[in-house]
């Protein structure tokens, strides 16, 4: 048992099913999921498509309610979405009518913090994600990767207790995905925010996380948790090492079953 005071977010015995219209039986999506994450930890939830991992993230975020079970963040039961648990979606979901700067400022402005401070904080995060010079651009004028950078800045600027990321790089091309992974790791080294990272990409999970939770096919269930033993920073060449490919094969086998 890990000491409770450093546990940042936990989910106990989560069950969730969706009823299908016109059918008596309902579709069981999540079955008895137990999950916890420590402060500053980077944990990936890895699973095949359709295993319910996004549904699980939505429950952690407070967008959806579990049928049974309990989610708590920093000692408080999760009932609704909150900036404490900022989300980076698979698509950027920026507000298309706001410039990059105003998208990043959006959450800060809701907090009614001092105007001068807000401006500085927002621009420091825009710089951190490498979008300085693009403050006044609108989302539609940016590439997919740049939009996702802005979405990351928008979430991080709120200094969330946990950053929930739902396959954030899945729709990007290979090069952009790699540079976004590096960026996320750099930001994580700097701010040490807790990250729950949903992915179906085994290499991505191995390169990024401290710990991997493997989910089974539907109904989703965490079938194995394994710590990632590699020291950081992890260069791309790591993927060629024997230990890495053994671990990768092991995970792939677990995913197949």
């Amino acid at each position: 048992m890990k000491p409770l005071e450093s546990t940042n977010l936990f989910a106990n015995s989560i069950n969730k099913s969706f009823s299908t219209p016109g059918m008596d039986s309902s579709l069981e999506v999540l079955e008895d999921i137990w999950f916890h994450i420590m402060e500053g930890e980077f944990v990936s939830i890895l699973g095949p498509s359709g295993c319910g991992k996004s549904t699980f993230l939505n429950i952690l975020a407070g967008f959806e309610e579990p049928d049974s079970g309990h989610v708590a963040c920093c000692g408080e039961t999760v009932k609704a979405p909150s900036p404490q648990r900022a989300v980076v979606f698979q698509s950027p979901v920026l507000f298309p009518w706001l410039s990059v700067k105003n998208n990043v400022r959006y959450g800060l402005d809701l907090r009614k913090e001092g105007k001068k401070g807000t401006e500085d904080i927002a621009s420091s995060y825009i710089k951190a994600v490498g979008l300085d010079g693009f403050e006044d651009y609108y989302p539609s004028q940016l590439s997919g990767g740049m939009q996702q950078r802005a979405a990351m800045a928008r979430a991080l600027v709120l200094r969330p207790k946990v950053l929930l990321m739902d396959e954030p790089f899945a729709s990007l091309d290979a090069q952009t995905r790699y540079s976004m992974q590096q960026l996320l790791l750099r930001l994580w080294e700097e701010y040490r925010h807790t990250v729950v990272f949903i992915t179906h990409d085994v290499e991505e999970a191995l390169l990024m996380s401290d710990r991997i939770c493997i989910m089974s096919k539907r109904p989703g269930k965490i079938i194995e948790e394994l710590p990632v033993p590699f020291a950081r920073p992890r260069p791309l060449s790591l993927t060629g090492s024997r230990e890495f490919s053994m671990l990768k094969n092991h995970i792939l086998e677990r995913l197949m079953t």
């Binding site: 967008f63 979405p81 909150s82 507000f95 706001l98 809701l110």
Partner: protein
């Protein structure tokens, strides 16, 4: 790119030039008599005289400003009332189930009655002229504004709403900072339709008998046999309608509320 646009401009001019030439040929010596279709030059002269009044060609010389102000005021007032009622009701219908269930069926029932169908009862209620005109404009412009605001508000992407909530927006803030801006493209389309309809119903209302207004000039000129003035009034109504639409769209562009949805 530039060349293409230039070509498109040329193509766009062909039909107007042909129509204008046909009109000119028709009104030449031995053609259609001037009391049916006045010649282009006569029309231009009367139009200039209507604005400046120094030739006194018609009884309406120099009165353009007075009539225009009267008409524009009616449109602004009627359209303003329609927007002031239609926008909030539309947004509420689009987002709040209780509002939709209690309002929408009734509104659509009333909407089926054509606006012109309200003319006789409006004249009974408000008398000829001012009151009837404002009532008809507000009523007719309300429906497209309401329907499009509701449509825009109800089709806001659920992901945008999730984003707003997770960034800390409460219900009220979500409405003002996410739902209304996201509904803007559809809402502005409704406002434009409403404004166009406002001009149509302005003319209908003014035909019933007001002292000042472009519609009044048209009706009056018909009785006095000034065919040019009927056409000149039509042209000015068209110009004002187009101008008001440009101002409406331009002001929303300025507010940065009409950014194209990206492909999210």
């Amino acid at each position: 790119m530039k060349e293409r646009n230039w070509n498109a401009d040329i193509v766009g001019f062909i039909l107007p030039v042909l129509l204008f030439s046909a009109w000119y040929l028709m009104t030449m010596e031995g053609g259609v008599p001037a009391y049916l279709i006045p010649s282009p030059s006569a029309l231009v002269n009367v139009a200039i005289d209507f604005a400046t009044g120094h030739e006194k060609l018609t009884p309406y010389a120099g009165t353009l400003l007075v009539h225009s102000i009267a008409s524009v005021q009616r449109v602004l007032l009627g359209f303003g009332v329609a927007a002031a009622i239609g926008l909030p009701l539309g947004f509420m219908t689009g987002r709040i189930a209780l509002a939709r269930e209690s309002l929408d069926p009734t509104v659509h029932l009333i909407r089926i009655i054509p606006g012109i169908g309200w003319l006789p009862i409006a004249m009974v209620w408000f008398g000829v002229g001012e009151g009837t005109t404002l009532f008809l404009i507000s009523l007719a412009a309300f429906f497209p504004i309401y329907v499009n605001a509701a449509q825009g508000a109800s089709s806001v992407s659920p992901l945008l709403i999730r984003a707003g909530r997770m960034l800390g927006a409460n219900k009220m803030k979500l409405f003002t900072t996410v739902i209304i801006p996201a509904a803007m493209p559809s809402t502005v389309a409704g406002l434009r339709l409403g404004l166009g309809i406002s001009w149509a119903y302005l003319v209908l209302g003014e035909l019933t008998g007001v002292t000042y207004g472009l519609g009044a000039v048209m009706m009056d000129a018909r009785m006095l046999g000034h065919v040019e003035m009927i056409l000149v009034s039509m042209v000015f109504i068209g110009l004002f309608g187009r101008l008001s639409d440009m101002i409406l769209v331009g002001s929303f562009r300025r507010l940065d509320l009409l950014k194209e949805e990206s492909e999210q």
